[in-house]
């Protein structure tokens, strides 16, 4: 399976690469594109510099050689640019792994045979949108991660590959709990790719039965903070 990690920053993509590179039956690449409001040239130069510096740090030869064995692809335009989409199609990826900002257009998504996976830090279908960890805690519901194939909507992609509850009760701050969940992206990508590579890959249906949540107010964030501190 050809897999592309879609990112704006080499370092963030590499943290995923490092944890997935040994997956059997998985041909892994890093695809870097500039942020929409950033100069493509600066973006490429910055990532190139990070790549070279990263290759100099002490680690296995296999990993430090990533930049030099054609595993890194630079897109000169943003990911949704027609030129980028054409390039992605030529690369014939099976799956994309979402590690960049923004929402993908349909043309970008369909450039991947199966689609682009997103590790959403809320349990679908109930918790779509923003501040979903906080809303789960406020409503005394389990916190977790759902890895699903993106569509053009907000967490509405129909195919959930895996979803699991994650315990954040050992954290006493919202930011720490969230960082913990975000840092599990590679772990969950790994699980999802294993499912997709298995003999009978299946999915759960994201049936739209839940709600879209929005950025939480400071008032309710204070309540969530207290929930964490008091381990309610």
């Amino acid at each position: 399976m050809r897999v592309g990690i879609l990112a704006n920053s080499y370092l963030s993509a590499f943290t995923i690469y490092r944890q997935l590179h040994d997956l059997p039956d998985c041909d892994l690449y890093i695809v870097l594109s500039p942020l929409p409001h950033r100069s493509p040239i600066i973006s490429v130069l910055a990532n190139f510099a990070r790549m070279i510096i990263g290759s100099l740090s002490p680690m296995s030869w296999q990993l430090s050689s990533v930049p030099f064995n054609r595993r890194v692809i630079f897109l000169p335009h943003t990911i949704d640019h027609p030129g980028s989409v054409a390039q992605l199609k030529k690369l014939q990826f099976d799956v994309g792994l979402h590690k960049s900002g923004g929402i993908y257009r349909k043309e970008t998504i369909t450039a991947f045979r199966l689609g682009i996976l997103n590790p959403h830090i809320g349990l679908l279908p109930e918790y779509r949108g923003r501040s979903v960890m906080e809303w789960s805690l406020l409503k005394n519901d389990p916190v977790g991660i759902s890895v699903f194939f993106i569509d053009t909507g907000i967490d509405t992609g129909e195919q959930i590959i895996i979803k699991e509850q994650v315990d954040v009760s050992h954290y006493t701050s919202i930011s720490e709990a969230k960082e913990f969940l975000f840092n599990l992206d590679a772990t969950f990508f790994r699980k999802a790719l294993k499912v997709l590579n298995s003999a009978e890959p299946g999915f759960q249906l994201n049936d739209g039965s839940g709600h879209r949540y929005y950025v939480m107010s400071k008032l309710f964030q204070g309540v969530v903070q207290e929930i964490l501190e008091r381990r309610l």
Partner: protein, 216 residues
């Protein structure tokens, strides 16, 4: 009440006194604002609303009806029907997303009795209004300022969301109000045709925060 519900209730009660204080500090340049201030010196905390079982028309305009709701005054009603089928209204509202003046007219025409916004048939419209407020409008205001959005249109929709928040157990609605209250600069007042919509928004928000509503 669970410990979490107790924390939520406590936070909303604390917010209630802040909101009342802020409401009373607003300009009282209009008759309505003056009346509202006097009313909020000793508000009617027992006033409740019910979800209308059928569509009702108010004998007065949406804006006057909103004022009446904020003042806990009665509204003369008659049985009626919506101006158009709900799916059609929803589509037209979406098309008016970038035309605040048109959207203002659409909403005030459709909701002469604002409590119709609570009707089960309005679920998609409520979700759309909430989404616009918490995604597109919020982004513009945070990037620029309240002056960058059409304030009558914004506060009309916040008034409607406050009505929903007052009767709904869905915390997303009250939290939209929480969020906008925190976003609102303390000394800012709209320079628009109906600036009192800010006063009525705070009044209806306070109503949604009162114990009678909070302990739902």
């Amino acid at each position: 009440m669970t410990p979490i519900q107790s924390l939520i209730s406590k936070s909303l009660k604390q917010r209630h006194s802040d909101v009342c204080e802020r409401l009373l500090a607003l300009p009282t340049s209009s008759d309505f604002a003056n009346k509202l201030n006097r009313h909020f010196q000793s508000p009617n905390l027992s006033a409740r609303w019910d979800i209308p079982e059928t569509w009702l028309n108010s004998q007065q305009s949406c804006l006057l009806s909103l004022q009446a709701l904020a003042l806990d005054e009665s509204i003369e009603l008659s049985a009626g029907v919506p101006e158009m089928p709900r799916d059609e209204f929803y589509e037209i509202l979406i098309l008016a997303a970038r035309n605040p003046e048109q959207r203002f007219v659409l909403l005030t025409t459709e909701y002469s009795f604002p409590l119709n916004f609570l009707h089960p048939s309005e679920e998609k419209i409520r979700e759309h209004v909430l989404e616009r407020l918490m995604v597109q409008d919020r982004a513009v205001i945070e990037r620029k300022s309240f002056g960058a959005v059409e304030s009558d249109d914004l506060f009309l929709r916040l008034n409607l969301i406050a009505i929903q928040a007052a009767i709904s157990t869905d915390l997303r609605f009250i939290d939209a109000l929480n969020y906008y209250y925190e976003l609102l600069p303390s000394s800012w007042y709209p320079a628009s045709q109906h600036p009192w919509l800010l006063n009525s928004f705070l009044a209806l928000y306070a109503k949604a925060l009162t114990p009678a509503f909070v302990n739902r």
